[in-house]
Amino acid sequence: MTPYFLCLLLFLIGVYAVVRKRNIIKIIIGLIIAEYAVNLFFILFGYKLEGRSPIYSPDQEIFNMVDPLPQALVLTSIVIGLATTALAVAIAIRIYEKYGTFDITKINKLKG
């Protein structure tokens, strides 16, 4: 059970960065860490002891494969995470151009 709890700790670190930090780049880093933890949890949950990777081989019969379903779900999720990170970075760059800072407490001139 130890890997599950380490994974939960990693997720909590990401949530702490999102909630507590004031720098926008630190918030984006927190989002990335939380996303790592979620992807990792899916794969940890599908692992089978002494399992083989779910790919057939032409010259030998393979039994005892690990769970392929979480891998299929996470494979798309990784690339989507990259695209959403790029969207967040684009918003951060625009905020920096408008206000000249990354500090969210100084962004109070909401004038559109």
Binding site: T2, Y47, Y56, L69, Q71, I78, I93
Partner: protein, 179 residues
């Protein structure tokens, strides 16, 4: 799984350094180290597709983050109710951690998944699709609706970045109108 725990602890240390260091560029490098450790973890957990995807995505993510942080000032303000804010956050995280502990205790133990649905895929994938990579067979044949949805999300994100980053803004058009 001794090496797995070592790698997870390495990822946690990398994440802690990434969120606590003052230099933004160092923070980006630390989160990159954490992501590369995640790539090796995927390889240990027998997921080679994910390992390939994770290592290339990590490199591109680093390039984009460095583009955002390079040559920028480092505004750091610790004024305000520092003690109260940290205390409130830590209490919230403690409650979250307790609930997570209760939920994770009920799961099947590590290394023994239930695999009720997956057993069907493992039995039928080679017969139905003739694809030897079962992950590929699932995302493009059995569960292609999911992949279509994910492609839509990707398309929307790309459109959002392109709309945010346009350089012919509303200001230019307004100036032209004023003239």
């Amino acid at each position: 799984m001794f090496e797995l725990n070592i790698l997870l602890i390495f990822m946690i240390i990398g994440a802690l350094i990434a969120i606590e260091v003052k230099d933004l560029l160092s923070a980006v490098v630390a989160v990159g180290a954490s992501g590369l450790a995640l790539c090796i973890v995927f390889l240990i957990l027998k997921a080679p597709d994910l390992a390939i995807t994770q290592i290339v995505v990590e490199i591109l993510c680093l390039i984009i983050l460095i583009r955002a942080t390079i040559k920028k000032d480092l505004p750091f303000s610790t004024s305000g109710r520092w003690f109260f804010n940290t205390l409130a956050t830590l209490v919230f995280l403690a409650i979250f951690a307790y609930l997570g502990y209760v939920a994770l205790k009920e799961l099947p133990s590590f290394g023994n998944p239930i695999m009720k649905v997956s057993q069907f895929y493992l039995n039928e994938a080679l017969k139905e699709t003739k694809a030897t990579n079962i992950v590929s067979a699932i995302i493009l044949n059995f569960r292609a609706y999911d992949t279509l949805g994910e492609a839509t999300v990707l398309f929307t994100a790309v459109m959002g970045v392109m709309a945010l980053m346009r350089w012919k803004g509303r200001k230019d058009i307004a100036e032209k109108d004023n003239e």
